[in-house]
């Protein structure tokens, strides 16, 4: 899985392309820990290119969410694909990691853009 980080005015956008599984989950933690340590505590993980996520990947997202919140920020997910949505719903973690339509909508001041 390949990760890229883009600094937007209001948040850092992390894009992951590939499978978020036991191989790539530690890399995601590392990337986001770096982003948060660099002072960007509002993070959007754009999952538009993530076609698979298992419980290891989900665990990594939860760990990153805690990290961002501990630093005074937040982590949100956007652009989720059907398999990722299925895993979030079956584990009820969509209550904690609510999918947003787009990275821009995730920290929109209107806050009503959840899909």
């Amino acid at each position: 899985m390949q990760f890229t980080v883009e600094n937007r005015p209001d948040f850092a956008e992390v894009q992951g392309v590939g499978r978020l599984n036991m191989v790539s989950a530690p890399k995601l933690r590392e990337v986001i820990a770096g982003v948060v340590a660099g002072g960007r505590t509002h993070v959007v993980v754009n999952l538009g290119g993530t076609d698979f996520m298992d419980s290891s990947g989900l665990g990594a997202l939860i760990g990153c969410l805690k990290l961002a919140r501990q630093a005074g920020g937040d982590l949100r997910i956007a652009n989720v694909q059907p398999q990722v949505r299925m895993v979030l719903e079956l584990t009820n973690m969509n209550r904690v990691l609510t999918p947003y339509d787009s990275a821009e909508a995730a920290f929109s001041p209107r806050g009503d853009s959840r899909d």
């Binding site: 599984n21 191989v23 298992d54 290891s56 665990g59 939860i62 895993v87 079956l90 584990t91 904690v96």
Partner: protein, 143 residues
């Protein structure tokens, strides 16, 4: 004997790399069995990867190392997987229990996810190996 419409197999060391290769095997399987509905593919593939990842993370070798052996088949109206922990010490897997409600837990959701994704899952000792068997009823899976 139930008709097998398509199948793939993999064996290798119980490592993350073998699980990654299993993803590619599943993609090949669905290419060969394109009549299997998307939802069934997605659910079953997720359950198989969860079980294989569980082997990599938790199986304890009885002697030197654990080998992962996976046979997956598409049968009329059903998807089937047998996942072998070859050379693993006897173990028990809690397939009936409930996952706790700790929303902040970073692990421990894999077994609950498998149960939610398949019709039947069993884990038992056979000879020197532990064996997972996963079935998913897939009424639309017919060529």
């Amino acid at each position: 004997m139930t008709d097998v419409l398509a199948e793939v197999s993999r064996s290798g060391p119980a490592t993350a790399e073998t699980v990654d290769a299993l993803h590619d095997d599943l993609d090949r399987l669905w290419a060969a069995a394109d009549f299997v509905p998307d939802l069934d593919r997605m659910a079953f593939a997720t359950a198989v990867i969860e079980a294989a990842s569980n082997v990599v993370q938790h199986a304890v070798p009885s002697r030197e190392s654990v080998q992962l052996g996976v046979d997956i088949s598409v049968r009329p109206h059903r998807l089937h997987a047998r996942i072998l922990e070859i050379g693993a010490a006897p173990a028990s897997v809690e397939l009936a229990g409930e996952h706790g409600d700790d929303e902040e837990a970073e692990s421990g959701r894999g077994l609950a996810l498998i149960r939610a994704l398949v019709s039947t899952v069993t884990f038992e000792r056979r000879g020197a190996d532990n064996v997972w068997v996963l079935w998913r009823d897939a009424p639309g899976a017919t060529s």
